[in-house]
């Protein structure tokens, strides 16, 4: 009895110790803003200079991606140019954001710079993990006069701007990161297969499904009509699926009485999901539910799939000399829309670079950000390192870049047709990864026939999504 009581007291004491430690951590937040003032003070002395943080060492965390490969190539030049020493680490995408989130949460100031996407900003900005870049952009002593921020597509730059209010669209508020490149969504197809079967790129989802019926095992057993992502995570929802969802007039959330309310079981959403499920069943890979970006793109390149409804750049990476078996046969067309729809809505994903709020080297980190999102670097990385789609208009207008794009039939034209309707189609909110992962899991269950109808599956999903965001109050 005595021993049990002693054990309970010991356990409570230990828990008490943890509790004290954690409260202290929480109180430390926000104390690093003085490092921004220090950066401003240094820049004030002689105006903008690339060597104003010479001798400083920064840590950079990169995701395994062609954008990161381009950065790594240029790091020695950056070090020589600025006198800043860069220590970088590269992590495969599967675990990349776990590592970023854990590092930022530790608030040790490492890494100083990290790659991020717009959806992650909705989590990181709310948690105070990420440094607003406004104090740097707005200070003429800190901004390179040649930076030309207005050269970046406003739609792309705006996706990294947010006022931190869940439910509010991106495009207003602080600038949290700067884009390295981005992707929009379109239909990539094998033009030789289309010619063989006398087909034209489909204009509507109904036409697409019809084409899928024609292209069953178009090249024998193992070949199938269309590659789509289907794995149990947000990556399944944000490419072609979300763009089509918007093109059917559906939306993920609405703000009602100061709360976010899921609209995934609306009639538009049900119709779209029914058609999408039909598309998967008729045209998708038998292994659809395990398909990520890599498998979907690789199947188009290998000639296993006749079409790919995904990021334009996913198909792009299958082209070029020796990139894949079908490298020279891939062409692009605007994504198929719903019946009667004229306006193209494409979702957008951008890889960007951002600064850790707790970084102790913000001046050096800011110089890194500017260098690797500058017009010169963007052009070099697009031409030499396949870092597409570039976020700067000047790169798209560059004759050498246009020449490079000319090899890819329909790529440039599809981009131009789609870019104006390209924006983030999700409602910004900090539970994005939970709601979209549940969405992907529900889609898998609907395809597997777990529910008696699409409506039933989406009704259950709506309940889950409402529960996930119930703590959000919009004032």
């Amino acid at each position: 009895m005595f021993s049990t009581r002693r054990n309970i007291i010991a356990l409570l004491s230990i828990l008490g110790l943890f509790s004290c430690g954690s409260r202290k951590d929480a109180l430390d937040i926000g104390h690093t803003d003085k490092s921004v003032l220090e950066a401003k003070k240094i820049a004030e002395v002689g105006g903008f200079r690339w060597d104003m943080a010479s001798g400083v060492s920064i840590k950079v965390l990169l995701n395994q991606h062609p954008y990161a490969e381009a950065i790594i190539q240029k790091i020695p030049d950056f070090e020589k140019f600025t006198g800043i020493e860069v220590d970088y680490a590269i992590t495969p995408e599967e675990n990349y954001f776990d590592k970023v989130t854990t590092s930022l949460n530790s608030r040790t100031g490492e890494p100083d710079i990290f790659m991020t996407g717009a959806y992650q900003v909705w989590e990181y900005a709310g948690a105070n993990f990420i440094q607003s870049l406004d104090p740097f952009i707005q200070d003429s002593n800190l901004l390179n006069p040649d930076y030309r921020i207005d050269d970046i597509y406003p739609g792309v730059l705006g996706t990294l701007r947010w006022d931190r209010v869940p439910g509010h669209l991106t495009g207003t508020g602080s600038q949290w990161a700067l884009p390295l490149g981005f992707e929009l969504y379109s239909l990539a197809y094998n033009k030789v297969v289309f010619e063989k079967f006398g087909l034209e790129p489909p204009k509507t989802i109904a036409e697409l499904i019809k084409i899928c019926e024609t292209l069953q095992e178009f090249d024998g057993r193992g070949s199938y009509p269309i590659a789509l992502r289907g794995s149990r995570n947000w990556g399944t929802i944000h490419p072609g699926f979300m763009s089509t969802f918007a093109n059917y007039g559906a939306r993920d959330f609405a703000v009602e009485n100061g709360k976010l309310v899921s609209k995934v079981n609306s009639p538009e959403s049900v119709k779209m999901t029914e058609d999408w499920v039909k598309l998967i069943k008729i045209g998708g890979s038998p292994s659809w539910s395990s398909y990520t970006w890599y498998q979907a793109g690789a199947d188009l390149g290998a000639g296993k799939a006749a079409m790919l409804f995904d990021a334009d750049i996913n198909g792009y990476f299958q082209t070029g000399k020796g990139a894949s078996k079908e490298a020279v046969n891939i062409a692009w067309a605007v994504m198929p829309l719903s019946e009667g729809q004229k306006e193209i809505n494409s979702n957008l994903w951008t890889w960007a670079i951002a600064m850790n709020k707790a970084s102790n080297n913000k001046l050096a980190a800011w110089l890194f950000l500017q260098y690797f999102t500058s017009a010169d670097y963007s052009l070099w990385s697009a031409l030499e390192m396949n870092a597409v789609d570039p976020a700067r208009k000047s790169v798209w207008d560059n004759p050498d870049f246009k020449l490079k794009m000319a090899d890819r039939e329909g790529y440039y034209e599809t981009f131009i047709s789609t870019i104006d309707g390209t924006r983030i189609l999700f409602t910004p909110q900090p539970h994005f990864f939970e709601t979209t992962t549940e969405w992907a899991a529900t889609l898998q269950s609907i395809v597997a026939g777990k529910y008696s109808s699409v409506q039933e599956g989406l009704d259950i999903l709506k309940k889950k999504m409402d529960e996930a965001v119930e703590d959000i109050i919009i004032e």
């Binding site: 356990l11 230990i14 828990l15 943890f18 509790s19 954690s22 929480a26 937040i29 776990d98 989130t101 854990t102 930022l104 949460n105 989590e123 709310g126 948690a127 105070n128 057993r221 193992g222 070949s223 199938y224 794995s231 149990r232 995570n233 890979s285 038998p286 292994s287 659809w288 539910s289 395990s290 199947d299 290998a302 296993k304 900090p430 539970h431 990864f433 939970e434 992962t437 992907a440 899991a441 529900t442 898998q444 269950s445 395809v447 597997a448 777990k450 996930a468």
Partner: protein, 306 residues
Amino acid sequence: MQAGLINSDTNFSKKPFLVKARPYLIMTPALLITIGILYPFFTAIFYSLTNYSFRATTFRFVGLKNWTQMFMEPEFWHAILVTGKYALATTGSEMLLGLGIALLLSKESKFTRLLRVLLIFPLMIAPVIATIIWQLMTNNSVGILEKFLNLFGVYNFPWASSAKTALLTATLIDVWVYAPFVILLILAGLQSLPKSPFEAAKIDGGSAWFTFRTLTLPMLKPFMYIALIFRLMASLQEFAIIFALTKGGPGNTLMNLSITGYTTGFAYLKFGESLPYVLTLWLIIYLISRKLVAKWLLVQKTAGGN
């Protein structure tokens, strides 16, 4: 005698510091390991009582809210079911296969000697890599297993893509990776058994089945229990194979306690809510392994003739 004792104490006080500290120094690594285990454990208990999240800058004590919420979630009971089904399917198959193959390999020949070496290979491959290899082998376009099934007129077998066959696929991979461990353990047990009881049974004309049932199996039981304890504990907490294969899908088909805990903690950033899943898993493993270890001690005594 008493004088001797006094002398000894005096000698001890004169010993150099390092000699006096030796018992404590010897204990230090064990102490550090214990702290290394206990610290995260108590931290986990504490945070399971808070609303701690990577997303928020502060957290507060919420009592047993996370625990009660978890017990009310249908996902939790589904995760318990998946954890149990997976553990039974994999451990059961591995034990049966392990015993059968070990018995076959216990006969001495060049072929069995070679096979014993080859059997170690799957154990040298990380489960995640093994899963990726199996994903390729089961791929409907290029997979060798798909081609094999084609010979029997089976096309587009869904493997991990279907809710109906996902558990079977994950079990196959688990068995491929870990059955060699069970085989080697039981084989080592078989080779350490005394020869005389078997020779006596042979002289008395005992059949192979009689010898197996009354001699081999009882004497082999301690080894089988060790294999069972290791495999059951590991399969209850299986993460790598399921995560690499389907991330818990299709739908929620393979969402066991480990994957649900990980997804809630790292994908949804709800650490306070994820920890009850992990701690429940710990409790289940602790209770089962305690029971099995007690049983193993008993079986060992019986096998030793005590």
